[in-house]
């Protein structure tokens, strides 16, 4: 075997170790709650904790709403920019990248200042108002991923001609977006949606500072107070992310009309 080959194998092994060792360690540790033998006690504790179920279902519901709102904002915007204002694309891309540059803590403090109980729009005064605020925050955080996913999806279809074809057949804007554009970027929207889901499930800063019972703060709380359960929770959270990624693949595979690559 030639020398460069050996080096690439070593690099690969190191990379894999770097990635998998902490994972294996966490899994192994999460199984050691019972002294002297492996058990799922930590997982049982987690699943039996009503707080887990509450915070997790809260975050799931929030994630679903975030996805809906995100899709409703991003799909028409990306479509419109592609169709009517292609020159604005760099600007819009820049704007959608801002959430990666501005820390969530800045956003959330901005929210609290703007929408506190003595402001013109006292959203933080009620639980539902705060939920709305949190969801908008989540939608902002997921914007870079959602926009990019949808924009890539739009690139694979001839947006302009399909729009004109639909228009000449009598379709109005909602019909065009709902029946022509959306179904053709569905795979892209799905991948954006799963990324959003993963972000919302793990988000801590916004939920904690807005004092909502989300999964992120719960994760932190358990991590500060228990020994084995945080490891179990971490494994659960990790699995959710991976299942999401698997679902993206599945969605891509199951789309019947996805065309084979053209030469």
């Amino acid at each position: 075997m030639k020398a460069p080959r050996v080096w690439s194998w070593i690099a690969l092994t190191l990379g894999l170790l770097y990635f998998f060792l902490p994972l294996i360690g966490t899994i192994e540790f999460s199984l050691r709650k019972r002294r002297g033998e492996y058990s799922l006690d930590a997982y049982r504790w987690v699943f039996e904790d009503p707080k887990f179920r509450e915070t997790f279902s809260y975050s799931v519901v929030m994630a679903l709403f975030t996805i809906v709102v995100g899709v409703l904002i991003v799909v028409p915007t990306a479509y419109w920019v592609r169709l009517k204002f292609p020159r604005l694309r760099p600007l819009v891309e820049f704007v959608t990248l801002l959430p990666l540059v501005i820390p969530p803590i800045v956003i959330v403090f901005g929210y609290i200042r703007l929408y506190n109980t003595s402001s013109f729009l006292p959203l933080t005064g009620t639980a539902s108002g705060t939920n709305l605020l949190l969801m908008m925050g989540y939608a902002t955080l997921s914007l870079p991923y959602m926009y990019r996913a949808v924009d890539t999806g739009l690139r694979t279809i001839d947006v302009r001609t399909l729009t004109e074809a639909a228009q000449s057949l009598g379709a109005n804007w909602p019909t065009i977006i709902g029946r022509v554009i959306m179904p053709n970027v569905l795979v892209a929207v799905m991948s954006g949606a799963f990324l959003t889901f993963a972000i919302v499930i793990g988000e801590f800063v916004m939920a904690a500072l807005l004092n909502r019972p989300a999964f992120g703060p719960y994760l932190q709380l358990i991590g500060a107070n228990r020994a084995y359960e945080p490891a179990a929770l971490a494994v659960i959270a990790f699995s959710i992310t991976w299942i999401c990624m698997g679902l993206i693949q599945l969605a891509t595979l199951l789309t019947r009309h996805s065309r084979p690559p053209r030469s």
Binding site: I157, D158, T161, L162, E164, A165, A166, Q167, S168, L169, G170, A171, N172, T175, R179, V180, P183, N184, L186, R256, H257, R259, P260
Partner: protein, 353 residues
């Protein structure tokens, strides 16, 4: 008044005027082609009729109703695109049914209409295929069916054959023409291919630089071009420079020969346009204008022999039919060519008389 009336249509993009004072009345059931090189404004005219572009000035009336202020989805127009533009997420049947569904046609009527349309384009049994499972020609036929399903008042075809290969292009254009005749639907067809335009149109509009240079039947366009551009753009044309010897009697000199056009002329120099099929090798009984030249090259194509020659310093091309008794001439040999004076297209400067 005509069914589709385009009057004084103008379109500018910024400071560029792409369509200039375009006028075209089209009768019901007529098949009109807009022919011209790319950038001549033909697609822009079509897109203004469809409603995808707003005219700078001018009017477009369909059946007496001004449609300029109507949105594309209110115009009841069927359109077929060069890139087919089938909805990739819908099956053939769903694609054809799209416009009907938008209109709110009942399911039973919709199904019947889709079946009728698929029968019309010869794609029965393809209902459940997706566009990517069809060939280009099949996709374009589905696109045609989809456009016709809603029974539009006008059918617009935007270079529908340009993306197809040559053989399918010819068969599909005949199919389109056949369907158009059967449904008697008013049609505007945009193309840059003159053979396409000449072969299937009732009338052809030759466009150049945003202007309709000539509007007429294919026979007329080809044989009596009204401008130099039309003469050169439509068909193959041999151009020979000539000197005017006597304006009043129309005597002209070509190389060392003299000939008479038999009509008065207005300038001292002119260009003669001769179609390849109007030029005969050797002398012929009814072709009393004789030119001298040399044969450069001979292509035997079977039924037709294509000869390249030099006449009066210009390269010309002529076609003769194959006759078993007459072998083709040899390259390099001197020859005489004859033409009937009436077959000459006289191009004086920019405009012919």
């Amino acid at each position: 008044m005509s069914f589709l009336e385009i009057e004084h249509l103008e379109k500018s993009f910024g400071s560029v005027r792409v369509v200039k004072d375009f006028n075209l009345p089209i009768e019901k059931g007529e098949f009109v082609s807009l022919l011209g090189p790319s950038g001549c404004g033909k697609t822009t005219v079509l897109r203004m009729v469809a409603g995808f572009e707003t005219p700078s000035t001018g009017s477009i009336r369909i059946d007496g109703r001004d449609v300029v202020s109507l949105r594309p989805n209110q115009r009841n127009i069927g359109m077929v695109f060069q890139s087919y533009a089938l909805f990739p997420n819908l099956t053939v049947a769903q694609n054809v049914a799209f416009g009907l569904k938008v209109k709110g046609v009942k399911v039973a009527d919709r199904t019947a209409r889709v079946a009728e349309m698929l029968r019309l384009i010869g794609l029965e049994g393809y209902d459940d295929r997706y566009p990517f499972q069809l060939s280009g020609g099949q996709q374009q036929r589905v696109a045609l069916a989809r456009a016709l399903a809603v029974q539009p008042q006008v059918l617009l075809l935007d270079e529908p054959l340009s993306a197809l290969d040559a053989k399918i292009r010819v068969s599909l254009r005949e199919e389109i023409r056949d369907i158009q005749r059967r449904l008697a639907i008013t049609t505007i067809f945009v193309t840059h291919d003159q053979e396409e335009a000449l072969s299937i149109s009732d009338r052809v509009v030759v466009m150049n630089g945003g202007v309709a240079e000539q509007v007429g039947q294919p026979f007329e366009i080809y044989n009596r071009p009204s401008t130099r551009f039309v003469a050169e753009f439509v068909g193959t044309l041999n151009l020979i420079e000539a000197r005017v010897l006597d304006r009043d009697s129309g005597r002209i000199g070509i190389g060392s020969r003299e000939a008479s056009l038999g009509r008065p002329l207005t300038s001292d120099r002119l260009t003669l346009g001769i179609r390849p099929e109007a030029l005969t090798l050797g002398r012929a009984a009814d072709r009393d204008m004789v030119l001298e030249g040399r044969i450069d090259d001979v292509h035997f194509l079977g039924s037709v022999i294509r000869i390249q020659a030099t006449v009066a310093g210009e390269r010309v091309m002529l076609d003769t039919f194959n006759r078993p008794g007459t072998p083709p001439p040899a390259p390099g040999q001197a020859a005489e060519f004859s033409v009937h004076p009436e077959d000459l297209l006289v191009l004086e400067g920019e405009r012919s008389p």
